[in-house]
């Protein structure tokens, strides 16, 4: 763990179900002060549900969550005043100007930023030039930065960011990453959810891999990747029928196989042997593997080895 070792957010055995669907299945986590913690998982894994429980947006059936020592269920208003929150797919009043949004949402936190203070906040998020623009006229990246600014309007020590870069172009995404890095350097505690592997690897001190409402692995990105041992990933464009995939899966040197629209990913300790196997199977099925690559493991491979499937393409 990085930063101060004291847990500022404590999550203990949290269960949340929607009917028969277990959205959170006994999640336990400790988030330390001043760390950037990433929740990595595919859509529907339980990332947003967990954040919503911390934010007090939804109740949970079992378990406890405390934020800075305050129980979320018993002191929701206190917890809400501590947290800075950026929601996924956040919609604001599109006819408000950016500077008015800062003042309006600031008031909801009982802080009443003056025009100069609101401008200074917008400046931090590179939006000063757009302070008089109506929200509806801002680009996707600018709106995301504005929602980040709104999350910081009351100067919270803890910031929850729910997929802050989903749907953004690479340039806008890098802009958000810079902002998150700056928040980290200012000593903010950050929890961010993402399904971008690179984002989690670059920004986060620790990562929790979540799927089907369970935390499957927890550690620094390096620790998690090192747990993979010397496994590499062979990727190739090759469509294989189910029985051939099964055949590949059972090979001694193969750890995990996933196939997504003809893109095959094979985790292996012996990439050369896998290449030979693919050639062999390809000949049997009358197709040759194309666009073959071999690469060192990353968090996506960790996810693949833990769940047996790819984290999937981002939205």
């Amino acid at each position: 763990m990085s930063g101060n070792s004291a847990a500022i957010i404590s999550i203990e055995s949290v269960h949340k179900s929607y009917g028969s669907l277990k959205a959170l299945d006994g999640v336990s986590l400790q988030i330390c002060s001043a760390e950037c913690f990433g929740l990595l998982g595919p859509n529907g894994a339980g990332k947003t549900t967990l954040l919503s429980c911390i934010e007090g947006l939804i109740s949970f059936q079992e378990g406890h969550i405390t934020v800075n020592g305050y129980d979320v269920a018993r002191h929701p208003r206190k917890v809400k005043s501590i947290l800075g929150v950026q929601l996924q797919d956040e919609t604001l009043f599109t006819d408000l100007k950016a500077i008015e949004a800062i003042q309006f949402y600031g008031a909801l936190y009982n802080t009443f930023p003056s025009r100069a203070e609101a401008l200074a906040l917008l400046e931090r998020f590179d939006l000063a030039e757009k302070h008089n623009a109506r929200i509806g006229t801002l680009s996707g990246g600018q709106q995301k930065r504005l929602t980040l600014a709104l999350a910081m309007v009351h100067g919270p020590a803890i910031v929850l960011l729910d997929e802050p870069t989903t749907g953004l172009d690479p340039q806008a995404r890098h802009h958000i990453w810079d902002i998150v890095r700056r928040l980290r350097s200012e000593g903010k505690t950050i929890i961010l959810t993402t399904h971008y592997i690179e984002e989690a690897e670059i920004l986060c001190d620790r990562v929790g891999i979540i799927d089907h409402g369970k935390i499957l692995a927890l550690g620094t990105p390096r620790e998690l990747i090192e747990r993979m041992g010397n496994l590499s990933t062979v990727r190739a464009s090759l469509y294989l029928p189910a029985e051939k995939l099964q055949q590949l899966q059972t090979a001694d040197c193969v750890q995990a196989v996933s196939s997504d629209n003809g893109l095959l990913s094979v985790q292996t300790s012996d990439p050369q042997r896998v290449l030979a196997l693919l050639e062999e199977i390809g000949q049997e099925t009358g197709s040759r593997p194309q666009n073959v690559s071999i690469r060192q493991p990353n968090l996506e491979d960790v996810f693949l080895s833990l769940t047996g499937r790819s984290i999937g393409p981002a939205d």
Binding site: E55, G56, L57, I58, R77, K78, K80, S81, L83, V85, L87, D89, E90, T91, L92, F93, D95, L96, E100, Q103, F104, Y105, A107, L108, Y109, N110, F112
Partner: protein, 252 residues
């Protein structure tokens, strides 16, 4: 209090920035007043305790009630469904401010819009139909504008409690709007409407609010059956509040 004032201020800015709202709040009612007034204005409508007034003068409070119905039933239901659908409530719910406070601030803005509409209607009525408004009647009129607005805003909240889709909410609210506007003695005197309508209308909120406001604006009193109309309005408010409390959801 400062927080509430800030919320009210920004909702007011939003209201007067919305071209749709300005169209439906100012142009439509003013146009309706002129249209109905010019077509039927020469008729004389009897008022209790006086000889009667021209139809255009009688109509003016009705136009204001029509605005209240539009603003409450249609405007509020659409806004509340949209807030839920687009996650605006979610954004409010992650702050320490209670959402009902934000909703109340927005409701106050809607009352302010209706007051502005009333002033515009009075000015148009004075200029075109020689309507004279006694300023002494303003406090009672304002009281009934607030009461009427509360009734229809809460009824709009009930509509938003039972549907998640703006289109469905619009169908329900527009259907009710037409019924309440044309069949309850707001724009057309009950005497010229079918018997069954004139028997049912006194039990509708629009009739009660129109009776109260018309008497307040034209005669400075609360009408022939003030207690029944006020209690009726309060009962509608209580029922709508109860239904909303039980069924209204803020999250998708």
């Amino acid at each position: 209090m400062r927080r509430f004032v800030t919320e009210f201020r920004f909702f007011t800015i939003l209201a007067f920035r919305s071209r749709t709202l300005l169209f439906f709040s100012l142009l439509v009612p003013t146009g309706s007043l002129l249209l109905f007034g010019f077509v039927f204005g020469q008729n004389v409508i009897p008022l209790p305790g006086s000889g009667g007034v021209s139809y255009s003068v009688w109509l003016l409070p009705g136009i204001i009630v029509m605005n209240m119905i539009a603003s409450g039933l249609m405007g509020n239901s659409t806004a509340m469904i949209t807030w839920r659908e687009r996650g605006i409530f979610q954004r409010i719910l992650v702050t320490p401010t209670a959402p009902w406070e934000v909703m109340l601030a927005r409701a106050c803005t809607q009352v302010l819009v209706i007051v502005v509409q009333t002033i515009v209607a009075i000015i148009v009525g004075s200029l075109v139909f020689h309507f004279t408004f006694n300023p002494l009647y303003a406090p009672l009129s304002l009281l009934f504008i607030v009461l009427g607005s509360a009734v229809f805003l809460l009824l709009g909240q009930v509509i938003a409690s039972f549907t998640d889709r703006v289109e469905i909410g619009n169908i329900i609210s527009q259907g009710l709007y037409i019924l309440l506007t044309f069949l309850t003695g707001i724009l057309l005197p009950l005497q010229i409407l079918p018997d069954i309508v004139s028997k049912v209308a006194p039990f509708t909120p629009s009739y009660m609010v129109a009776e109260l406001l018309r008497s307040a604006m034209l005669q400075g009193n609360a009408g022939s059956a003030p207690l029944a109309d006020i209690v009726g309005c309060l009962l509608y408010c209580a029922a709508a509040l109860g239904l909303s409390a039980a069924f209204f959801r803020m999250l998708r």
